[in-house]
Amino acid sequence: MAHIELKGITKVFGNHAALKNMNIDIADGEFFVLLGQTGAGKTTTLRLIAGLEKPTAGQIFIDGQDVADWGAAERDVALVLQQYSLYPRYTVRENLEFPLKSRIRRVEPAEIKERVDRVAKTLRIEHLLDRKTDRLSGGEMQRVSIGRAIVRKPRVFLMDEPLSALDAKLREALRTELKNLQMNLGATFLFVTHDQIEAMSMGDKIGVLNHGHLVQTGTPQEIYQNPVNTFVARAVGSPPMNLIAGTLAGGEAVASEGCRLPLGNGPATATDGRPLFFGIRPEDLYLDSGAPGEARVHDVENHGVEKIVTLRTSNRELLQATVPARTELEIDEPVRFSWNPEKVVLFDGNSGMSLRHMG
């Protein structure tokens, strides 16, 4: 198991910079999730750590050692790719044995068998061991490729959206399986995804990537409650955080469409009149007949346990709020809303930075 550190990593492809001066510190035994959209540089980060690409600038340390000159084999990482990359023409067992049979490793045949059997049991693919890989379903293939990673006991697990090609049910099941696996093995995981639910539910720590910049790292809780800027606020959480444009006036928030909402003492560090965004999570926005905010119901999504209501304010801004499932609402019905003043996050109106993080 290992501790990984990236220092000032920059990677340029042609004239496109995939990663810009990135610093990440992944503690031993941590489940670290890199979250970002397509093209944000997630896969590039994994490939750099795995040794499949060389950084343009910066250093990578595994357990404190600079691994710049190490090949993929020496780094002793396991990489699970989105496209499975199982070896064709071999059975599941042969695929699982592959990393152990290499000359460099010299594992006894008895031990190979024992380790393959144990991994197959963990991933519940024992019944597939003698099957050819082209006769497996997507979920089975992905489990085999995860199996091929763990059979080796590598220092680090790198996973490149391993679940994104699977259907929803299976994805949920494997999500739990992977998280359990990581806890049982006590291994360092670097998991890449564009799915914020995966990030929130699996990660000990999340790093949010935007166009090659690591915008924020922190526990899922920190990222969720205290996003560093409006990008993170919108990227994490489903539905995303509401951003209401407005200014401060006498300790109250004045939204641009005119309504005044109360603010707690905590975030009131900004001066009056400065353009701001008020960030509020949907679950902290509530409907109340006596509340100051005015809006009409734009849309209602019933999720069973709750309803997500989209509100349309007088200047056609859309806000989302979660309400209990029993709340009956009609489309275009006028409602009044307010928020939990303690939970409001203030962002600078120009830079989008959170005022708390700007200090």
Partner: protein
Amino acid sequence: MATAVMTSLDTKSRAASRGMSDIRIRNLFIIPTILFLIVFNIFPLIYSLGYSFTDFRASSNAPANFVGLQNYRELLNDPFIWSNFAITAKYVIVSVTGQVIVGFGTAMLLNRDIPLKGLLTTLLLLPMMLSMAVVGLFWKLLYDPSFGIINYSLGLGSFEWLSNPDMALYAVAITDIWMWSPFVMLLSLAGLSAVPKHLYEAAAIDRAGPFYTFFRITLPLVAPILMIAIIFRTMEAFKTFDLAYILTSQPTTEVISIRLYKMAFQEWQTGRSCALAYIVLIMVLAITNIYVKYLNKVKER
């Protein structure tokens, strides 16, 4: 799909206005080809089968007498014929093995990002496009003991490539390897570039060494297409004639097709040479069948 091919004739077309139906047009295209095949391939094939049971000589006016299986019996009991077969077998093994090693090796070298890859590949394919006779005459000059460039550049003095009975067959094989390795290279290159790159990355991550990766990933995936190249080259090498005939006239290079040629057109034993041709045909068919069976097995894996 079949309906797309069998569309009927456009009623406004010129052919339709001349009163031709689509079946008639189809026949117009196919019948000449079939006639050509019958006259030049199938008829001689059957006719020569008939001759192979006679003592017919094309050089005399004597009528052909039916002799039954005598030609076959004598040919198969003739130690000289067997030595011709042995020479052919040796030639096939040396030449095809050489072509696979050189061709596959070149393909491995070319299967990466190198500057001028396209130009390089095209240039390497040139020998394959030359005429056999031209290649034979050229290499005869290259092999020349007194002024040949091969002896000059290798510093072999006046080493005799073609007049040395032990060396001549290898010299012919080397020429064949030079000429046909590009063919194996071309097919191998197609196979190699079809191996997904992420498999190599996965193997690198799995800490497989270069040899292990080659034997466990590259070779199994390229094997079917390489097999096809080997089938083609074996068949060609088995019936090789021009190269060996032009380069040398050593008895040690008398492959079966040269023997056949001499038997038919120098000794005028037409009936017997027909029988020999049939023996060769059956052998080539048998060998090809073994390969095809093996190819199917490789594909299944």
